[in-house]
């Protein structure tokens, strides 16, 4: 490291960016694991439709496949933004 290094802007804390990205993608992949292959696509299309009406984050739509003795249940939850922040029509 040279003295010049002190003058350059310090790199961002990219480790914490990595951690947050992984947290989201790993949770998403776990939820659809073992379910039909179309789940991730279904999730993205749903997200697009929802976004026509209200602005939500990319991780706002959560899909879960629950298995029980009676079969499989597709669980869907959509986190809406705080009412004040909502700008949708």
């Amino acid at each position: 490291m040279s003295l010049l290094d002190f003058l350059r802007p310090r790199p961002k804390n990219t480790a914490s960016i990595a951690r947050e990205r992984l947290r989201i993608i790993v949770a998403q992949e776990r939820a659809t694991r073992g379910g039909p292959d179309y789940l991730p696509l279904l999730r993205n299309e749903l997200l697009e439709v929802i976004r026509k009406y209200v602005h939500v984050d990319t991780d706002a739509v959560q899909i879960n496949v629950e298995r029980s003795s009676e079969g499989e249940v597709l669980e869907l939850s959509v986190a809406l933004p705080e009412p004040k922040a909502a700008t949708g029509t």
């Binding site: 490291m1 040279s2 003295l3 790199p11 961002k12 804390n13 990219t14 480790a15 914490s16 990595a18 951690r19 990205r21 992984l22 947290r23 993608i25 790993v26 992949e29 776990r30 694991r33 073992g34």
Partner: protein, 270 residues
């Protein structure tokens, strides 16, 4: 009782073969009769890392296809007479490994009184990787503190809990451990690399060991002597600690902090 341990990762090049060689050697050093098997058909490498490449006559596929006996194919380690290597075949035929064949070899090793069978998995999630994990009682998931490696590890954890014989029989997933390799504490402290804690939290399974990035690993591969033999290196010591934990001993983690640098070194050093 024989315990079968798979060393797996999903992503390639993270340190599975390095880890298989050192864990198997460590188990043998601790007095356990151990076999280490290369499942990477077509890309044999464990023999080089174990330093027995010139003694390979018969391989895993020869045994499965009844062209050689298991006894003929097992290569006894030069340094430990309770350690044996079973080399992968160099055939390009990926179908050469069969589930029945693998099961028969593992069963014979059990009959022969092996305490541990270490299975070095190929990268990916194809047949070789599937068969390496299928019969395992335990899994060591090798992971680098890097986004694609962590994500692939989670994929592998999913397969371990559904696509193994234990899982299919409803016996539940076997024990799963994370082994972080190529860990660089200096970069972790600088915020450039995820920490052990980060990776452990994301994947949610306990850490068996942390192997620092070390130039001794390359030197060990160059000379065909597993790095655990290099007791003076931190990588060798970290592997020895991991072996102790694998055997149920309570050993605290070492080499997680960056070495303290003096003021001058920090200003002018590299």
């Amino acid at each position: 009782m024989t315990e079968t341990i798979v060393i797996t990762s999903g992503k390639g090049g993270v340190g599975k073969t390095t880890t298989s060689a050192s864990l198997a050697t460590g188990l043998a050093q601790r007095g356990h009769k151990t076999a280490v098997i290369d499942f990477d058909v077509g890309l044999r490498n464990l023999d080089l890392i174990m330093g027995c490449e010139r003694r390979v006559v018969y391989d895993f596929v020869n045994v499965i296809q009844n062209e050689a006996t298991l006894k003929q194919a097992l290569i006894r380690d030069k340094r430990h007479d309770n350690l044996y290597v079973l080399a992968a075949s160099q055939t390009r035929d990926k179908e050469a490994l069969t589930q029945d064949g693998v099961e028969r070899v593992l069963e014979e090793l059990k009959q022969d009184g092996f305490d541990y069978i270490v299975c070095d998995s190929p990268a990916g999630i194809e047949k070789g990787a599937h068969l390496a994990m299928y019969f395992a009682d335990r899994a060591v998931v090798v992971v680098n503190p890097e986004v694609s490696s962590v994500r692939d590890s989670d994929r592998i954890l999913g397969l371990l809990s559904s696509k193994t014989r234990r899982a299919e029989r409803g016996e539940g997933a076997g024990a799963q451990h994370l082994l972080l390799t190529r860990y660089n504490p200096v970069r972790v402290e600088a915020g450039e690399m995820m920490s052990v804690k980060d990776v452990e939290e994301i994947l949610g399974i306990p850490v068996l060991g942390v192997i620092p990035e070390s130039e001794n690993v390359l030197a060990a591969s160059n000379s065909g002597v597993p790095v655990i033999h290099d007791a003076g290196s931190i990588a060798g010591q970290a592997y020895a600690d991991a072996v102790a934990r694998l055997l149920g001993e309570d050993v605290s983690m070492r080499f997680l902090d960056a070495p303290k640098k003096g003021f001058f070194k920090r200003m002018f050093g590299t």
